[in-house]
């Protein structure tokens, strides 16, 4: 189970009431675009602390290189903080909240992969930071286990997959790099861990690698879904017994579930009536799966679908707006579940051009709160969707002999540059309903 999911219900205190009113209402937040020069925004998945504050990052092409900012939305809702990482060399990064309520950030700068831990109350205060000076990191991602160890994955040279474990103090434990027989073709960033310390990592060509807590590889496999290669559009999640993955190709969205001990895939689900793009997912503490996707490339609609543990659809919803071209489906939408709330982040507006806007929705996981909501000059509608889904069964290939795997000695560079507290952005927010 990833960090965000393991924190489920953390905002409900021991006395049975919620603190700070954070769970009282859903909201919509839309970030102003004033800090970017051409509007090519890329929003991250949201992270939620134990008080219900929501943290999210936005990479924006302010100039070259890209600029990366972090935002904090309080329970009101309102934008209550903005911090700039600095001018970085990659639009993609990730934010998370540690089990002790501090902010973790994984990013890149000058061809280094960097993970930093900042005080969650005053993120300008560093707790630790470390960087690996290797390759040209892309698609970086990370998760944290219950002991505070941080597992990071990113694309290195020739699309090799770099995989690194740090302990809760930020000290590197081990590193691995893996490529296929032609020396490239790996390079994924999807990552998950289970409660036994095993990690799961996806390559560029949809191969999943499992490692034990010491970094030793135990098996490689790939489903027969034959998804198109899309290293950063793919999600891996574990619960107590199953590894779940999602990928997509053309008009298909496929979800497969694989027993953690190996064996036969549980199921996969095939979307048949929308040309899908960049589907990602999350799983709640009851095992329900939530999929978010936009249709490609000219649709104006974002779809959210909830499946139960049997693979049946619980509900289908969609978000549309009167803003520009609706959802910017050239960027990845994300969904995060915490307790009875889901946090959906995406960019709206055209695929190209200067009017792309980062959006964040907090909505109930039961599918309620449908309706039309005015935010600023635009109307946003959250309503029932009518996609057609059919299901079939997946099979898996063993690829153990195809990929090379080698130890990798990461650099261990102390990097504790502080976040800059700034106030150049604004957010328009409203409660839902």
């Amino acid at each position: 189970m990833p960090l965000i999911s393991t924190l489920a219900n953390a905002s409900v205190c021991a006395y049975g009431f919620t603190r700070g009113g954070a769970l009282a209402s859903g909201f919509i937040a839309k970030f102003a675009d004033s800090w970017a020069t051409n509007g090519f925004d890329y929003i991250t998945p949201a992270a939620v602390d134990s008080l219900g504050n929501v943290w999210v990052g936005v990479g924006a092409n302010a100039n070259s290189p890209w600029r990366q900012d972090i935002f904090k939305i309080s329970s009101v809702p309102a934008l209550t903080g903005q911090w700039q990482i600095g001018n970085n060399d990659n639009k993609e990064f990730r934010v998370s909240v540690s089990s002790d309520d501090n902010l973790l950030v994984a990013t890149s700068y000058l061809s280094r992969y960097i993970v930093k831990k900042h005080n969650g109350t005053t993120p300008t205060t560093n707790i630790w930071g470390n960087s690996d000076a290797s390759g040209s990191p892309l698609h970086q991602n990370f998760v944290q286990d219950a002991s505070g160890n941080v597992y990071g994955s990113y694309t290195g040279s020739n699309f090799a997959t770099q995989f690194i474990k740090q302990n809760s103090s930020g000290t590197f434990q081990w590193g691995r790099t893996w490529t296929n027989s032609s020396g490239n073709g790996a390079g994924g960033a999807s990552i998950a861990i289970d409660s036994s310390g095993n990690s799961y990592n996806k390559s560029y060509d949809d191969v999943i690698c499992k490692r034990d807590s010491a970094g030793n590889r135990s098996f490689l496999f790939r489903s027969n879904i034959n998804a198109f290669s899309a290293p950063n559009y793919y999600t891996l999640v574990t619960d107590s017994s199953t590894l779940t993955g999602i990928t997509n190709k053309g008009s298909a969205i496929a979800i497969w579930q694989y027993p953690l001990t190996g064996g036969t895939a549980v199921n996969w689900i095939y979307n048949t009536t929308t040309t899908s793009s960049m589907a990602t997912m999350a799983i709640d503490s009851s095992g329900n799966t939530y999929v978010v996707h936009a249709t490609a490339p000219s649709s104006t609609t974002l779809y959210i679908t909830k499946f139960n543990t049997s693979g049946s659809i619980v509900w289908q919803r969609q978000i549309t707006s009167t803003f520009a071209s609706g959802v910017a489906n050239s960027t990845v939408p994300y969904i995060v579940i915490k307790g009875t709330w889901m946090y959906v982040s995406y960019n709206e507006g055209p695929s190209t051009g200067s009017t792309r806007q980062p959006m964040l929705w907090k909505l109930p996981t039961d599918g309620s709160a449908t309706g039309s909501y005015v935010l600023g000059s635009y109307t946003y509608t959250y309503a029932t969707a009518s996609n057609s889904w059919t299901s079939t069964t997946a099979t898996f290939q063993d690829l153990s002999g195809f990929y090379s795997d080698s130890s990798y000695a990461p650099g261990d560079t102390n990097d504790t540059t502080a976040l800059s507290s700034i106030t150049t952005a604004s957010a328009t927010t409203r409660n839902v309903p």
């Binding site: 892309l138 560029y204 048949t272 659809i313 509900w315 039961d366 029932t384 009518s386 057609s388 299901s391």
Partner: protein, 106 residues
Amino acid sequence: MSQYIDPNGEYPKHIGDIQLEYPLWDETQKLPKGWQEVLESEIPNIPDGYKLIETMPIEIDGKKFRNFEVEKYTDAELLEQKIWAIRNRVAAGQMITAEEAKLLIG
């Protein structure tokens, strides 16, 4: 996968949609008044260049079944798919041709 028609004739609806109106209802119980279950049916073969379309359920012997048809992709949809494939290659750091770059710029 269970799918339903609601009392207003809207399709598809799902378990969670029923439970929003009847929170204690589950799949082992009789459907609430006005709701109809839609049963699975065979998916037709989908030739290359075609897509699957689901229309309103059909009734056979008093039961509702899902109804699928195939429809040819339009030229605009095929172009979108081509552009999308180019975007993915760019996102993965792969080279594209000048002609493909023109397609991306539009």
